[in-house]
């Protein structure tokens, strides 16, 4: 078991949660994903300083940490936007035109899926299924699931967000 000798990047109390996760796993390099989960959940995204701190504390190469952080969709390197628009691309929604909704919003907002507008107002995301296949195509606007959405409706809903 290795102990952390590093001080967290800031005074922020949320680092205690991150430290606790690493301590629980004995600062083993295997705890990388678990630790990044805690950072993501506590801070909402993974800052470079956070990645550096986790890499050094767990003795994992920086490039591997970055590779893991960019491989899994769960992790985000940038803070999420004020509003979230999640377009379902599951089989049912895809067939019912989920892709067209996504493309329309993407073009209007000028961002690709997974990105946030430069002003930090809107994040456009995709998921594989929201479990509402009967309502296909489904889109989640912030925390509200809307079914049988058409591209104009979707635009109407998000146009004030960017």
């Amino acid at each position: 078991m290795r102990s952390a000798t590093l001080a967290p990047p800031s005074e922020d109390k949320r680092w205690r949660l991150v430290d606790a996760t690493m301590r629980r796993h004995g600062h083993s390099p295997n705890a990388l994903i678990e630790t990044l989960h805690t950072v993501q959940e506590s801070f909402g995204y993974l800052e470079d300083d956070a990645l550096r701190y986790v890499a050094k504390s767990l003795h994992v190469p920086m490039s591997r940490v970055y590779g893991v952080a960019t491989f899994y969709y769960f992790f985000s390197l940038k803070p999420a936007g004020e509003h979230r628009c999640v377009v379902c691309l599951g089989t049912a929604c895809y067939i019912k035109g989920g892709k067209a909704i996504l493309d329309t919003i993407s073009e209007m907002a000028g961002i690709k899926p997974g990105q946030t507008t430069p002003d930090g107002r809107l994040s456009l995301l995709t998921v594989r299924c929201v479990g509402s296949c009967g309502l296909a195509p489904a889109v989640v606007f912030d925390d509200e699931v809307k079914g049988r959405v058409t591209p104009p409706e979707a635009i109407d809903r998000v146009k004030d967000w960017f």
Binding site: L51, P61, S63, R64, Y66, G67, F71
Partner: protein, 238 residues
Amino acid sequence: MATVKTFKINDEDVSGREDETILQIARENDIFIPTLCNMEGLSSVGSCRLCLVEVKGWTKLATACVTKIQEGMEVYTDSERLREYRRMIVELLFSEGNHICAVCVSNGRCELQDMAQILGMNHLVVPYRRPNLKIDASHERFINDQNRCILCTRCVRVCDEIEGAHTWDVMGRGIEATVITDLNEPWGASQSCTTCGKCVQVCPTGALFEKGKSVAEMSKKREFLPYLTSMRGNGKAK
């Protein structure tokens, strides 16, 4: 003591130690199997899929570089199907990046170019993607041109397994995957890079090359690898 296994490659009787791979035995017997990601002295990852071979009785094709030999197996390294698959793999590699041999530092000494010639690839059936990828010339001695990278991960493995720096890794997934140094930072600013240049020497294409080299001038020096690998006591690739 490792057990000796006897089997057949292309109807020819061959034998090897049980911990050896089909590729190793094929090479010992001068049987050619095309490869790109494999490199003697580094671990094998089986990612380029060029070394796919047929094994009698197996429904799937096997990657020769990571498949251990078995008693009595019958391996076939060349068939119309394999030739077609291999050519397709190289075509896809060409379409994915910007492999323009005429202006490349590695022209004439490039393993991708060699494979295209060996496998008889003379045109593409898929359109070129022509991605606009970045070139990192921040390092004092080397350049990383991602347009020519085929993601074989030799640089990642040599940096981790031989040099022990692990400056390189792969970020992202699918079509957006790229090799990176540290936290996707400029190579020249890397804290972990020791400037040893092993990654440059093992790179099969012109993606990693020395500064000051012009078209067709970059030849890779790989003599160090067998020596360093034997010094580490793991002469055989995993």
